[in-house]
Symmetry: C4
């Protein structure tokens, strides 16, 4: 996407070039820098991650094992646990076969479909320390391997214990943002709005939200650069978050969105970056989350419909989070 | 409870309608909003939870398993653990029965009241990895099931380990609020007071308390809305919390309670919202708690009696927390 | 200790009685209150706990099990673990005896000194899930008890896991305060000083210390009350805490210690309350600790000797922490 | 390194001797003090530790077991685990030999290379609670030892569980600093710069960096003392840390580096101390790290080359972190 004459006239404020202004702007760029002019991807993904790829990291850094095991889905997590269990047993079964399967005595190989499976089940009984004893090591070598395997087994399950606890106790805000943000009338002006709900019964307190807008703007020489604006919210803090909250950025003359058209937002690759921080009261854990709306996730002339059920003020229907209706803008 | 002419005259300050004032008020509504005019329920329950119901959450969100298992009582917790243990053993006993109970060898079925119970006890010995071996799997199929079950068993107890640790290490303020708050004389005015004690030997430091009052007030058009006031405390922070603390809101002319009668508090569905934050010194954990007093939890013309035992200044009788005596108001 | 005429004249500043002053003073009383006039005990013990006893707490609150098990010494901890292990095995041995010791088969009673010890060892093998199987339950009843015991065993050791982790990971500042504080010359005045060392290789950063002095002072009517003063330190924050730090309160005209004699400090039951907060860098844990010096833990006309070894600026001898030498005061 | 006439003239600002200035300077010495004039060692090592040795600590403090086991490398950690496992089994094997190896029955000694190894393997089966039962204790004494050993075993592996979890969940910033810092042109002046990258996919937010310079300066009487300066950064905070960040200290007239030559930096034993703090978003953990550049880790007249791959702004090559190219200084 190259700069073109049309776009250069889009913005009513002429880009300033003084170094002071430049430094001031860098303060609000959140760390992304002004050179990200590729409009094919967003800065912040809707799951809160950032769009940066790393090359040539060390294997250890790339694997980032603990982090992955903690953040992957439960289905994946149990799949990998089971896979590791089967793999380890297969590995040790192979080692017992090499050592001498005949020294694992107490049961007839044929009953368990041959010596490999006898070794496999003996391995599983050793790894989990269940140790029935109907198969037992009857030589120095297999006894040694079994002594080592039982230690490995305990460590592996020690690790699983830590991972399960880490997954459960990890501070995650169970917050859902509305899929679309809206431009709706607000008092005697218009406003850009989005809303969010707490999907769980956990008490969230001391919520605080900051919103920035990022868009491409042309420099005097015609090259594009990415500029960032902090957006003022009608309210950016609440002490309690009973259930839902609509965030409102009124589009007054001071707003960078003042006089903006949907086409301009698209041409300038506009993205709204949201950063939320709160306190989960159950464990008094701080929870952080990020979200973003791009220009194509805005409904113009829509407003959110009430989320309460039949005027019962203390009953909230989570399914109504995304419900909007058309409304005439001011 | 509908607005009526009498109530509209209750408050000496006329409700203001300017948008500026409205925004200012929203700052102090704590996130509850001004539309909660249903006076049949309180905003904050005395256990610190908030009175909001959710509908249509996902099953996962509604179960909120970890949170529940952490916050339920110990009796419930152990009941569910035992229930899960019996259920899992019954399930696996059924599976062994399907596979072929006769391949679990080593003991006569009759001694254990038939093949089901043999399977059940074998399952329990596998799940807990005790594995005596006097019952042992003697086929490929039952060996496989047992290998899987022992893995599940270890994971389940890994989970239990995490849950037990989570329950114990969860930051909870062992603070008890007096059941009633009082209106008592204070210096040359009156004051609304409540007190609290630290029921445990844990050191709590850096306590900070904020108190808000919420009540229904009529708008100029007669409809009711909920208004919130921050209440000034004679003191809202202490560095140490040796044992007890009486919080005092003096009712000066600036107080929203100035000139209020018990009847007015009831008619306006008044509720006092208390938010406490402190540092538990044992684990240097931040602890948060909430509490609320409604209009019917206030004793007019009562004062708290000393909580010390026989003038021994360093001995506190926790049973005296709620003791008050009548006193004439200023 | 009753007020007497001599003491009333001790302090050059007349106690003020205005309510404003009283409220201001309450701000600096740290939460102890002004009524603790019993001079037989200190406010803060040197291990950081506070001198308050509770009466009539619930059993659960009084036991405060988790807190005790976490904070007791390692010797006590292992003693209680072992005691619990022996007690539980004895209990279950009794239960197996009641059920019928003869149904635990596989070994001759006589070899293990009779049926009770057979039951005891079977219990220990079940509780720890070692389950050799050379003793095994051979009836429905003993099998059921064993199934229950093995579950209890796993939970108990799950608990032990959590306790061990809790003990190790608990944030504790390994800081040692000098046993005595000193009054030593400082620049052209005198100063009250104490020092502290980091006894471990853990990096402590962002240390911050606050010091208060508390003493009894007479009111105009002759009754004693406890007054608190914040003491200004020449420096109360450091970003790094390489090894040792001497804290200095210069006794200028503004200091409440100005013109004080050792006898006056004793008569007024003076106590210096120290509160320290830092960040342990290994786990990025906040650590808090308290300490106090009473009037009889001050050396007048002493100064601390260097703690470095033979002028090697980067080698610190922890044994020299308490070394002082006499010096003439200004 | 003794003060010499040449060095005394090095600095254009005369050292001031007023006590006020001295106190002001102590504020910025970070806690190191001004007496560390030994130029053979750095203050802060590049792994973030501080150069201080302790003598005469208690054994417990010197071992600092938990801290070491948590911070040592994984290879060392597993080596020590294995060593402890073999040692404990050897110890208990010896105890069983003393008690009477013949009472461990069920297998022929010769198969396992004699009674010691029989005891050793029985010990390992007891310690890990695998308990096959093909070796079992057949006397009161060995049964008692085994009951004790199985308890010890469970505790030891409980400890290992905690250690593994502690190692994994410990907050560590996976940040790599450029090996060299550079002096490069910046706008119309020069600047001292370094850069850093986030080597993992963990989201780091709210980064904040402070930089100090420390160097030896002569007092009027010719003795050297260590002086500290805070360095102003063009920017010291970012809300997001997508991947890389170049820190810039512009050398204006106010900078203590103004007019400095490489020789002067070397003669004054200059060291740049960096302290970084951020929030790891996965566990919402605060992470802290320190780094330092000495005078011999500065490249004069070099600038960093871009770290992006082929102008793809969202792809970062971690190997390019240290790449610089020569450039003419202003």
């Amino acid at each position: 996407m190259n700069p073109n004459p049309t776009k250069r006239r889009l913005f009513n404020k002429a880009p300033k070039s003084s170094q002071l202004v430049e430094q001031e702007e860098r303060r609000s760029d959140l760390g992304f820098g002004t050179k990200l002019t590729d409009s094919s991807s967003r800065l912040v993904n809707q799951n809160g991650t950032i769009n940066i790829a790393r090359v040539n990291g060390t294997l250890w850094d790339r694997l980032n094992i603990y982090n992955r095991l903690i953040t992957m889905s439960w289905v994946h997590f149990f799949f990998w646990l089971l896979a590791a269990y089967v793999f380890t047993n297969t590995l040790f079964a192979g080692i017992y076969m090499l050592a001498d399967a005949r020294t694992l005595i107490g049961i007839d190989d044929k009953i368990l479909n041959g010596p490999f499976w006898k070794c496999f089940f003996f391995s599983s009984q050793t790894l989990t320390t269940v140790g029935y004893g109907h198969i037992s090591p009857n030589s120095f070598l297999t006894s040694s391997i079994a002594a080592f395997e039982s230690m490995i087994g305990l460590l592996a399950f020690a690790l699983a214990t830590g991972l399960l606890y880490g997954r459960f106790s990890r501070p995650v805000a169970h917050i859902r943002f509305s899929r679309q943000s809206v431009f709706a009338p607000y008092l005697d002006v218009n406003a850009w709005m989005f809303r969010l709900i707490n999907t769980r019964d956990n008490q969230l307190v001391n919520l605080e939200i900051t919103v920035s807008m990022s868009r491409l703007e042309p420099k005097p020489d015609g090259t594009l650069y990415r500029r960032y604006y902090g957006l003022n919210l009608e309210r950016n803090k609440v002490a309690f978050f009973p259930a839902n909250w609509t965030l409102v950025h009124p589009i007054t003359e001071k707003s960078p969105l003042y006089g903006c058209t949907p086409e301009e937002l698209e041409q300038s690759d506009a993205e709204f970056l949201i950063s939320l921080q709160a306190l989960d009261d159950t464990f008094v854990q701080s929870v952080h989350t990020r979200f973003s709306y791009r220009y194509d996730e805005i409904l113009w002339g829509h407003k959110f419909r009430p989320i309460y059920i039949d005027d019962q003020q203390t009953k909230i229907d989570l399914n109504k989070l995304d419900e909007t209706e058309e409304v005439e803008l001011n």
